[in-house]
């Protein structure tokens, strides 16, 4: 089973989590742990360009992060989702709940 990697970097006022690999029930724990560590505390961006597959486990992590951020007025965006990640997000019927930017350069100041 292929694992995922989640790298955390600071970029201006944003904390960026870069995810590579599949997000499923076996792999989402690391993403969840790192997301929960930052969500609602800082402005957070999650780069999903390198995501090879994404199940409901990944959507749940993203939704929790969005709601954590909203609860305290912090910002949360998804960056450059891969095709499979985009489709997974759109399958919810509420893609507009996940603010998205095409690249890290497009992160708001």
């Amino acid at each position: 089973m292929t694992g995922i990697s989640v790298e955390v970097i600071e970029r201006g006022s944003w904390t960026v989590l870069t995810v590579n690999g599949p997000i499923n029930s076996y792999t989402y724990n690391e993403l969840q742990e790192k997301t929960m560590r930052h969500a609602g505390r800082v402005d957070m961006a999650v780069d999903l360009a390198g995501v090879s597959s994404m199940t409901s486990a990944g959507i749940g992590v993203m939704l929790a992060a969005v709601e954590d951020a909203e609860a305290v007025g912090k910002r949360f965006v998804i960056v450059a989702p891969s095709e499979v990640a985009r489709l997974a997000i759109e399958s919810t019927g509420f893609a507009d709940r996940f603010p998205t930017v095409p690249s890290l350069k497009d992160l708001p100041a």
Binding site: S53, S56, T92
Partner: protein
């Protein structure tokens, strides 16, 4: 004159308060009469005062009628003092009071014996009193004082603490009205404060609001709660009333504004200040603190280690609730195999309520999550079950209970003893019970389905325990057994614990409600959310007859009650075998395939869907669809665990393979087809599926009567707003 504005406002407030009362308590009619007479008093007095400058004949009639209305309101309060909470009406007394009131009205309004004339010059108000003015005034006040005394005496001798408090509140309210009226109407003019006379009719507020509170409340209040309420009121009132009074007073002082513009300015001032004051008060005076405490309590319950064994789990819960609520003891009752309620913590295994007992029937019938003993004593909506519920409370010695119910089945009860402080349970406690109900529900299920600790030694820890709960819950469905249909399903989780769900509930002989889907998250958390959701859907199904609203309320429950980030992707269906149709709402189910024997083709039927748990109000997004089933047709529904299954090369199983399996198994049974799908996906994934899976197959044979469907079918269409029943 500006002060009359406050009298009209008082009349408006009293009217709204009286209208808002929804009660079946004894004396409600007397209260409404008292409120009506009080409001009439305020309106007549304010209007008469305004007319007294230029229209004296009309003014004197109105002011005489106003005072008659005031006395009648005290008479009605006196009647209420004898009727509330459990007095009986006597037609003779009512008839006598009606005749006496009519005579009083005629005497005061149409003779000069009470008031001869009134005049007003600016703010100077003159009243020429008749021969019996003092006598009537004193007699009227005496009736009011008498009502207050009767309320007080009955309050002090009442054994019921709720009614005691209610009666004393009304005693204070009526007495407050009498004193207030005396100060502004009698004392004020005698000490050169006649300009305050228009405020005399605002005295209706204490009595009407006190009675409105009594008829709207079934719980005692605590001094702390009252102090907090007064604090909030003060914070709102000071910044609001200061500019309001200033603007109104200045406007009238310089006569630059009409009453209408003064009211408009006042309203704007209210809107501007009230919003700010509310948020200010919420942040500093407690309500947000209460919410935070409730969230902490929820979190504590959620973090109880369910693998520790039942006695330990319930012991931990007892300690948490004892600390949070301040109860002297805590007990857990659980449904036993016979359907009765047994005490499982402390574990004396006492049978508290046998199956079918009045108490158990009452608990099942009451549509509440928590019940305070004071509710049972004072709330007329519980009158039907009062004796059974009180017997239940007495048997336990409890002051409050929280119920875990699945539909009408009582799975468990959490009982709370008297508070260590001696205080009564109040609305704040009720709010806490309501807030943590979802978490307590999980523990109730745990207590119901996990055997005693001593019997668990052979069971593996966490997975085994939780799996035991999950399986028992998943297996509890109303099987769809009907000559016109064959239904088969498989619900599996790769780790033994999962959030996938299939449930069916029989609605009538030919109709079933069903739900299939996936609660997000994995393992124990997802399982617990699934258990709660399944139970909640069954409960909502009993309450809500509108299909769309049922789904919308389920969405609200997920959004508000389940852990952050939880969502549900699935499908809610309503199988109408007598109509040969399925009505469904797609909430993000990825695959629903329909195979018609006539077309010999497979059609993807689910259409667009919105998952639950993403937005607060999902109703605008929901669409009921209808799928007409010809005899011999098959519907296959699958959660994303199948469609998203990955091979070792990273390929998706996809819908195409599902369609192929459906075609290859067209001559096999529903159960064989479901097995084939699960086998195929498992083999594709190298024998190890990553995600929970649920597959449901529905084979429709035809209507019960043997007639075939009237319309050729297959393609789903947007359906009307369907009722569940």
């Amino acid at each position: 004159m500006g002060l009359t504005l406050f009298t009209y406002l008082a009349a408006l407030v009293a009217t709204l308060a009286a209208i808002a009362v929804k009660s079946r308590a004894a004396g409600l009619g007397a209260f409404r009469l008292a409120a009506l007479a009080s409001v009439a008093f305020a309106v007549l007095l304010a209007t008469g005062y305004l007319l007294a400058a230029d229209y004296r004949p009309a003014a004197v009639l109105l002011l005489r009628a106003a005072d008659a209305a005031a006395i009648m309101s005290y008479v009605a309060f006196m009647r209420l003092a004898f009727l509330y909470p459990g007095g009986r009406r006597h037609a003779v007394i009512d008839a006598f009071l009606f005749v006496a009131s009519a005579a009083l009205l005629g005497f005061m309004v149409f003779t000069d014996l009470y008031v001869i004339e009134v005049r007003r010059f600016g703010i100077e108000y003159l009243r020429f009193e008749g021969r019996y003015h003092a006598l009537v005034t004193v007699a009227g006040a005496a009736v009011g004082v008498g009502a207050a005394i009767v309320f007080a005496i009955r309050g002090f001798i009442s054994r019921n603490r709720v009614f005691r408090q209610h009666l004393l509140v009304m005693a204070l309210g009526v007495m407050g009205s009498v004193v207030w009226g005396y100060v502004f109407a009698v004392l004020g003019p005698n000490i050169n404060l006649e300009r305050l006379f228009p405020l005399s009719a605002t005295n209706i507020l204490p009595s009407v609001l006190a009675a409105a509170y009594v008829f709207s409340s079934t719980r005692v209040f605590q001094v702390r709660g009252v102090a907090r309420g007064l604090g909030v009121w003060t914070v709102i009132a000071i910044p609001f009333s200061a500019p309001l009074g200033l603007v109104t007073g200045v406007a009238f002082l310089f006569r630059v504004a009409s009453p209408v513009s003064a009211i408009a300015v006042s309203a704007l001032a209210f809107l501007a200040f009230a919003r700010w004051a509310e948020s200010f008060a919420r942040g500093r005076l407690g309500s947000s603190r209460d919410e935070s405490a409730r969230e902490d309590l929820e979190s504590e319950i959620a973090h109880i280690d369910l693998s520790a064994g039942r006695d330990t789990v319930l012991g931990q819960l007892s300690a948490i609730m004892g600390e949070a609520i301040g109860c002297s003891w805590f007990a857990t009752l659980s449904e036993d195999d016979s359907g009765g309620l047994r005490r499982v913590f402390p574990d004396d295994d006492t049978l508290i309520s046998p199956a079918g007992s009045p108490a158990l029937e009452a608990l099942a019938a009451v549509e509440r999550r928590a019940i305070l003993k004071s509710d049972v004593e004072a709330d007329e909506s519980l009158a039907e079950h009062r004796s059974a519920l009180l017997a239940f409370f007495e048997a336990l010695g409890a002051e409050a209970v929280v119920l875990a119910k699945e539909g009408r089945r009582v799975v468990g009860v959490f009982a709370f003893g008297p508070k260590r402080s001696g205080a009564d349970y109040n609305a704040l406690d009720y709010g806490t019970f309501d807030a943590v109900h979802g978490k307590l529900f999980v523990v109730a299920y745990y207590a119901r389905h996990v055997a005693r600790e001593s019997l668990l030694e052979t069971v593996e820890q966490e997975i085994g325990l939780a799996d035991q709960i999950v399986r028992s819950v998943q297996e509890r469905i109303d099987p769809i057994v009907h000559p016109g249909v064959s239904v088969s399903f498989r619900c599996e989780a790769p780790r033994g614990l999962g959030g996938d769900l299939f449930d069916s509930v029989r609605i009538s002989e030919h109709r079933w409600f069903f739900v299939v889907g996936d609660v997000s998250g994995k393992g124990l958390n997802a399982s617990m959310s699934m258990i709660i959701l399944k139970s909640m859907i069954r409960t909502l199904l009993r309450e809500e007859k509108d299909f769309v609203k049922l789904v919308a309320r389920t969405n609200s429950f997920i959004k508000e009650r389940l852990p952050r980030g939880t969502f549900f992707s699935g499908l809610f269906g309503f199988l109408a075998l007598d109509k040969g149709s399925i009505y469904f709402i797609n909430c993000g189910i990825p695959a629903m395939f329909f195979r018609s024997p006539g077309l010999d083709a497979v059609i993807e039927a689910q259409g667009e869907g919105r998952m639950l748990g993403f937005v607060k109000n999902i109703e605008p997004y929901l669409k009921t669809r209808k799928l007409i089933l010809p005899p011999g047709s098959r519907v296959l529904i699958s959660t994303d665990g199948i469609v998203e299954a990955e091979s070792i090369r990273g390929e998706r199983y996809g819908k195409e393979r599902l369609v192929r399996i459906l075609g290859e198994n067209k001559d096999r049974t529903a159960a064989e087809t479901v097995d084939a799908v699960v086998r195929s996906a498992g083999a594709f994934a190298g024998g190890k599926l990553d995600d929970d899976i649920t597959v449901v197959a529905i084979d429709y044979a035809g209507r019960p009567s043997g007639r075939t469907a009237a319309r050729p079918a297959g393609r789903p269409e947007a359906g009307p707003k369907e009722k569940v029943q």
